[in-house]
């Protein structure tokens, strides 16, 4: 894959720098039932050249968290607390206008469904070049040259002839590549990939993940991968934050978290994956379903499904407690978990 033609990466040249720090992020949602807390006190860090996975079921707030970081929340959702520090700037404190300067050069996002995310009425070339036109003031012609380079960079064959095609003339995998190309066009420090492969079949999924990995390595980006796919997390991420009902319940290096889960929810998730179940063991699934936002109980968010639930869980919500070794968990009984 040719890459060299794109300008020198602006992101950090070395890995493991802290690129993004999210602290105590709260997102409130105005709904017919009143104002609800969709994301509650979420904190995490993303490091350059590394992938952080936000893992959780649909509706757990992981996408909302990503959109809050990217400043793309819907009008009904508001960030009501916390900081989102990207490269030294607190994005949450910026006005929408000030944010524009960061969207693209500092932060790119890959959306889930490439067909609807691409504007059907413009050629892919126009859409790929748009970031250059906005942030670098390039002419349409120069932007098109850049667009062709980008298409080549993400592995689209014959970019010169395909640059004038419309999104509907591409296959699903190619469209996803185009989306990724757009996200990395200006070599951002941070790339948020919001379920980038959910709509794709397995082979294409692997190609796309490889592309993301290559790009990360190339430009030392920090990647925040949002997914509900445990296997993908296991394959791709360095660290993971498991979310449940708007809260991060457990976080840490993937290998450790998946190896010895400290939260009953993480444990439950892992138990429900057939590949990880030893022969002869019963395949389990987590009983019940996540609480709806307006019915989140006072105490622990997981109390209704937790096998270890005690009175204290119903009264006091556990906070995310770091263990000092890079892991943290929000459970009153995390130590007991190993013994169950």
């Amino acid at each position: 894959m040719r890459t060299a033609t794109v300008s020198v990466p602006r992101a950090s040249m070395i890995d493991d720098d802290v690129v993004l720090t999210v602290t105590g992020l709260n997102v409130d949602l105005r709904t017919p039932k009143g104002v609800l807390r969709a994301v509650n006190d979420v904190s995490f860090e993303a490091l350059s050249g590394r992938t952080l996975a936000l893992l959780g079921e649909s509706g757990c707030g992981k996408s909302m968290t990503a959109k809050a970081v990217a400043g793309l929340l819907d009008p009904v959702a508001d960030v009501t607390g916390g900081t989102v520090v990207l490269g030294g700037t607190d994005l949450a404190a910026l006005t929408p206008k000030e944010r524009l300067a960061y969207a693209g050069p500092e932060l790119g996002i890959v959306f889930q469904d490439a067909l609807t995310a691409l504007n059907p009425v413009y050629t892919v070339g126009t859409q790929l070049g748009e970031a250059f036109r906005i942030h670098e003031g390039l002419s349409a012609k120069a932007a098109k040259v850049k667009a062709i380079e980008l298409m080549r960079r993400v592995g689209i064959p014959e970019p010169e002839s395909r640059v004038d095609s419309f999104p509907h003339q591409f296959s699903g995998g190619m469209r996803q590549r185009i989306l990724i190309a757009m996200a990395v066009a200006l070599n951002p420090r941070l790339l948020i990939a919001d379920e980038p492969t959910t709509a794709l079949d397995v082979t294409v999924q692997a190609q796309i993940m490889k592309l993301l990995r290559d790009l990360r390595t190339e430009s030392h980006m920090a990647v925040v991968l949002i997914t509900h796919d445990l296997a993908l997390v296991a394959e791709e991420a360095d660290t993971v934050a498991v979310m449940y009902a708007g809260n991060v319940v457990e976080t840490g290096p993937v290998k450790e978290v998946f190896g010895t889960p400290h939260h009953p929810y993480t444990r439950g998730l892992l138990d429900s994956v057939p590949a990880d179940v030893g022969r002869g063991q019963d395949l389990t699934s987590i009983a019940g379903s996540p609480p709806e936002l307006h019915r989140i109980p006072d105490g622990c968010v997981y109390q209704s499904r937790c096998p270890l639930v005690q009175d204290i869980c119903r009264a006091i919500r556990p906070t995310l407690e770091p263990d000092g070794a890079g892991r943290a968990v929000a459970c009153h009984f995390s130590e007991e978990l190993d013994n169950v």
Binding site: G71, V121, I134, R162, D201
Partner: protein, 333 residues
């Protein structure tokens, strides 16, 4: 594109013929115009002469054959009222209407896009409600009332514009303002609706993620997608303006095709009516083709068959990625 045009022309020729035949037959259902053109105390002989002279006592089919024989020689008959060639009268009146309707629609579209976008940014918000209320109220005032009130207020009381007639720029203000309100009101609703749905599409988020300003998002990304439904409605509204500017044209003394048509109908001036209808029908037909072309220009997905340079490329790409394509097909349940 040429194939498309050819097919469109062929398939529209018949409706045009039907329109003219229909007008021909229906007009003659409204009775012999003799009493309109002869003195009240005209004798039976004068009536008979008149009827025979214009062939109104011939069977309808004979009259039709006669008429279309003339049309083939580009002879559209003469006006009963003025004795002038009917085609000349229609052609003379048409530009006035087209200019009025064209300017009106241009303004209506521009204003409606601005107001519609403004309203769509915050659906159900203050701006939305105000614009919706104002546009609907504006569109629901009878045009003749508005025209006369406009004259009384702006021409007589304030003296800003002339009362009527075709003259300098100021004489266009009242007719256009009167005609403008309905298309504007309707288009605001359409643009607003299309913008609301367009703005909630994922590609808007993508544009924002590239750092596109709100202005760019609205004008470049949302509006272009919202344009198609607005274009259809704008086309229909233009048609009804061309066909329906009768009231405004009569009040302001605007020598347009609408006034010509209603006068011809009421005066049973068949040849002029037929020429005017044929002319408007042809122009509506051209307008519809322009709208189709506009559609294609707006959205590549609806581009008509015939312009296949690009799709051949698309086809080659499918060939270039057979594996991915195949798998995709297999995994679709």
């Amino acid at each position: 594109m040429l194939t498309f045009l050819r097919r469109r022309i062929v398939s529209s020729a018949l409706p045009l013929l039907v329109v003219v035949l229909g007008v021909f037959a229906l007009a003659r259902l409204t009775g012999n115009p003799a009493s309109l053109y002869l003195p009240l105390n005209a004798t039976a002989e004068m009536r008979a002469n008149f009827t025979a002279k214009y062939g109104f006592d011939d069977p309808l089919l004979v009259q039709m054959a006669h008429y279309f024989g003339g049309v083939l020689r580009l002879d559209f008959g003469e006006s009963l009222r003025t004795g002038e060639p009917a085609a000349a009268m229609a052609l003379r009146a048409f530009p006035a209407t087209l200019q009025l309707a064209g300017t009106t629609m241009l303004l209506a579209v521009v204003l409606a896009v601005i107001v519609g976008c403004w309203a769509a940014l915050k659906p159900n918000g203050v701006a939305d409600r105000i614009s919706s209320f104002v546009s609907m109220a504006a569109a629901s005032v009878p045009d003749f009332w508005l025209a006369i009130m406009g004259i009384l207020v702006f021409a007589i009381t304030l003296g800003w514009v002339p009362t009527s007639g075709v003259g300098g720029a100021t004489s266009w203000i009242l007719p256009i303002a009167t005609l403008l309100l309905r298309p504007f009101g309707v288009l605001v609703q359409i643009v607003r609706g299309a913008m609301v749905s367009s703005l909630s599409e994922p590609y808007i988020k993508l544009a924002r993620s590239k750092g596109a300003s709100e202005f760019r998002v609205v004008t470049r990304h949302a509006l272009r997608n919202a344009a198609a439904p607005a274009l259809t409605v704008a086309g229909d509204l233009t048609v009804s303006l061309v066909n329906g500017a009768v009231v405004v044209e009569s009040i302001f003394g605007w020598p347009g095709i609408g006034k010509l048509m209603i006068d011809s109908i009421l005066q049973r001036d068949f040849a002029v009516l037929q020429a005017a209808v044929l002319l408007t029908a042809v122009s509506i037909f051209i307008l519809n083709i322009l709208i189709d072309l506009g559609y294609a220009g707006l959205d590549a997905r609806v581009r008509p068959a015939g312009r296949r340079k690009k799709s051949s490329r698309a086809a080659s790409v499918v060939v270039a990625e057979p594996k991915e394509r195949k798998i995709h097909v297999q995994t679709t349940p």
